[in-house]
């Protein structure tokens, strides 16, 4: 054999530059390649993050795809590895493999109204696409961000949502499942915000990210409003050990969620969406 391909299973060391606490269990890390190299990715893609000696997890990239100087991840600490990630601080090192997977087709949506629907930490994988859209704002009709969190304390990127809401060229709706404290905003599922409309269904592209059940209801609501299934995109989550189609864990029907997804066009997977334990 001649030269062998590069081994996709080898992590590349990155240095954590900054850690920002977002919520009680959620944090954002900015990191740079230890060798000083740049990092390119497309909105919606993910990396496999390796904590030395602990393990690896697939995490979506939450930063700006136009900024190649660093890679940004927003993570909720729920398992052994994400909790170990949470314990890291600026200056620590982390292993990165990626970027992997399909992207939100932002450019293909030029000329359309763009509707982002996010639930919980699902706003993180959408943020790169929102940045990309706003950097090309004139290419779109309306840009709508609809976001649902469990409680007001769980609203991710709150300052940024407020800033976006203050813009004249963005429509932002936020709702919570359960009002606490002095919350006097929307209460209820994010599907309700979709039902209100505010976009032209025949010329809308929607990017949806959140728990699977939420995406299912949102997709159904969008369809009810008249948005074609082929204009709705969702981001799936499955167990992943490799990120690149070798380990088999993320199989979903004929798809590998890691390489055929995580971003899928809804009409291509709608039939599978309702099959239990597929």
């Amino acid at each position: 054999m001649t030269s062998m391909p590069k081994d996709p299973m080898l992590p590349v060391p990155f240095r954590i530059e900054r850690v920002q606490r977002e919520l009680s269990d959620t944090f954002t890390m900015e990191m740079v390649a230890k060798d000083g190299g740049t990092f390119s990715f497309k909105a919606g893609q993910f990396n496999m993050l390796y904590v030395f000696g602990v393990g690896e997890v697939p995490i979506s990239i939450s930063g700006d795809p136009a900024d190649r100087s660093k890679v940004v991840h927003t993570t909720r600490a729920v398992g052994a590895v994400t909790k170990a990630l949470d314990a890291l601080k600026a200056g620590d090192e982390i292993g990165v493999r990626g970027p992997f997977g399909t992207d939100w087709p932002v450019e293909a949506a030029y000329g359309h109204d763009l509707v982002f629907v996010a639930g919980g930490v699902g706003l993180a994988p959408l943020r790169p696409a929102i940045y990309q859209a706003m950097a090309n704002r004139e290419k779109f009709g309306r840009v709508v961000v609809l976001y649902g969190a469990r409680t007001p304390e769980d609203i991710l990127f709150k300052k940024e949502l407020e800033r976006w809401r203050g813009r004249f060229d963005m429509d932002v709706g936020v709702t919570v499942d359960r009002a606490t404290g002095k919350w006097s905003g929307n209460v209820g599922v994010v599907t309700k915000l979709v039902a209100r409309g505010g976009f032209d269904p025949l010329h809308t592209t929607a990017f949806v990210c959140g728990p699977e059940v939420m995406m299912r209801y949102v997709a159904a609501e969008l369809e009810k409003k008249g948005v074609a299934r082929s204009s709705v995109w969702v981001s799936m989550e499955r167990n992943m050990k490799c990120g690149c189609g070798l380990c088999g864990h993320c199989q979903w029907g004929p798809h590998f969620v890691c390489k055929d997804g995580p971003v899928f066009r809804y009409d291509r997977i709608a039939d599978m969406f309702s099959i239990r334990e597929l």
Partner: protein, 383 residues
């Protein structure tokens, strides 16, 4: 494994003794020679010292959930059908180190795994097993993310195929179109002819490497009668397969996720994962991170995994496939149906191992036949 070159085959007759020469020659060329031998009441593929290690005079009896060695009346060296474990164990080992990482002053450094010390020489690969290698070559040959380890081990291997002259009760390669005749993917292929008067091998080369080695071994040019005898024996094996797969229904399984048969097979399936471990194409793996006691040295290992475990589909909040029916459906639907979408062929090569090694004798061909029989329109939208 040879490339696409098609050497014009000149068959030679090798005597039984020439197999010693074959193994010697491969060792001399630096190969790690692996082949069948008897251990633990089974034919297993393991390192061979010489031709004396081959399972002389042993055959096997395979049925659903049943495997026994049996003595043959002749001294055939390749008189068994298939070993419990295929060549996957060598080409994609059950445990592989992905990398080692060391703590450094600033963080950690990653060391790639050491290259394989020796290329493999595989003695006695069956047609179904060569088909499995082709399947896995595609699985690990993604254009963006191939597995370099698998590709190199296969590319560097010297493959001696032995065509089956008898079929087992759980065999169904003929219906999968993968055997028993060997058509590609070998350096040397042989048919063993053993009767009262002689014990010889009709051998052909399938690559330049194979041609060279056969020349070194000597051997007389095979007569037409020898070649015919070999072809006839292999054709006979094709006709005596114990099982057959309904490939048309098999391919359609993905359209039948709500079929009632899944619940029925789940009532028998123990979710032990044996079928996935013995399957020569099953490729799923998990990873395990280990450290030394001080935590200064870490390693990441890739280990075979099975879609029959609950953990396999775990994501935060719980596993996707908690029910046995869902896990069996995943395995067989992927193997027979969605594999076509992913890799352009079935994932099944008809070796029958999953039938033999299922502790309750669940039969992949029977399940497909039952689904074909009982096929009803899928009830959509079950919640």
């Amino acid at each position: 494994m040879p490339g696409a070159e098609t050497a014009v085959a000149t068959a030679v007759i090798l005597q039984r003794d020439a197999l010693d020469g074959l193994i010697e020659a491969l060792k001399a060329k630096g190969y790690r020679v692996v082949g069948p031998r008897v251990a633990d009441d089974a034919v297993i593929y393991d390192d061979l010292d010489g031709a004396d290690d081959l399972p002389r005079g042993w055959g096997d009896e395979q049925k659903g959930g049943h495997y026994r060695l049996r003595k043959r009346p002749d001294g055939a060296l390749f008189g068994y059908t298939t070993a419990p474990q295929g060549w996957k164990r060598f080409l994609y080992p059950p445990k592989q180190k992905l990398f080692a990482a060391r703590r450094t002053a600033s963080g950690f450094a990653v060391d790639p795994p050491a290259p394989e010390p020796q290329p493999l020489a595989i003695i006695g690969a069956r047609a179904c097993e060569l088909a499995a290698m082709r399947v896995q070559k595609r699985v690990f040959g993604d254009k963006d993310y191939p597995d370099p380890g698998y590709q190199k081990r296969l590319a560097d291997a010297f493959v001696v195929a032995v065509e089956c002259t008898e079929a087992g009760d759980t065999c169904f390669c003929a219906s999968m179109g993968t055997g028993p005749a060997v058509e590609a993917g070998f350096d040397i292929k042989m048919v063993e002819l053993v009767d009262k008067s002689r014990h010889v091998f009709v051998a052909e080369a399938g690559s330049a490497k194979g041609t060279k080695l056969l020349k070194e071994l000597g051997g007389d040019k095979a007569k037409d009668a020898d070649r015919e005898a070999a072809t006839t024996r292999v054709a006979k094996a094709a006709k005596s397969m114990g099982r057959a797969m309904d490939t048309a229904t098999a391919k359609r399984l993905k359209e039948l996720p709500e079929h009632p048969r899944w619940e029925q097979v789940a009532a028998r399936c123990l979710t032990c994962g044996n079928c996935t471990m013995v399957c020569p194409t099953c490729f799923c793996t998990t990873v395990e991170d280990v450290t030394d006691l001080k935590g200064d040295n870490a390693e990441r290992w890739r280990k075979w995994d099975s879609c029959f475990t609950v953990d396999f589909s775990y994501i935060h909040g719980g596993s996707i496939r908690t029910e046995t029916a869902a896990r069996y459906r995943q395995w067989i639907t992927h193997k027979l149906s969605t594999w076509h979408d992913q890799f352009g062929s079935s994932g099944c090569v008809g070796c029958g191992r999953c039938i033999t090694w299922c502790p309750v004798g669940i039969d992949i061909t029977e399940e497909v036949a039952a689904i074909h029989q009982a096929e009803k329109p899928a009830a959509k939208g079950r919640k």
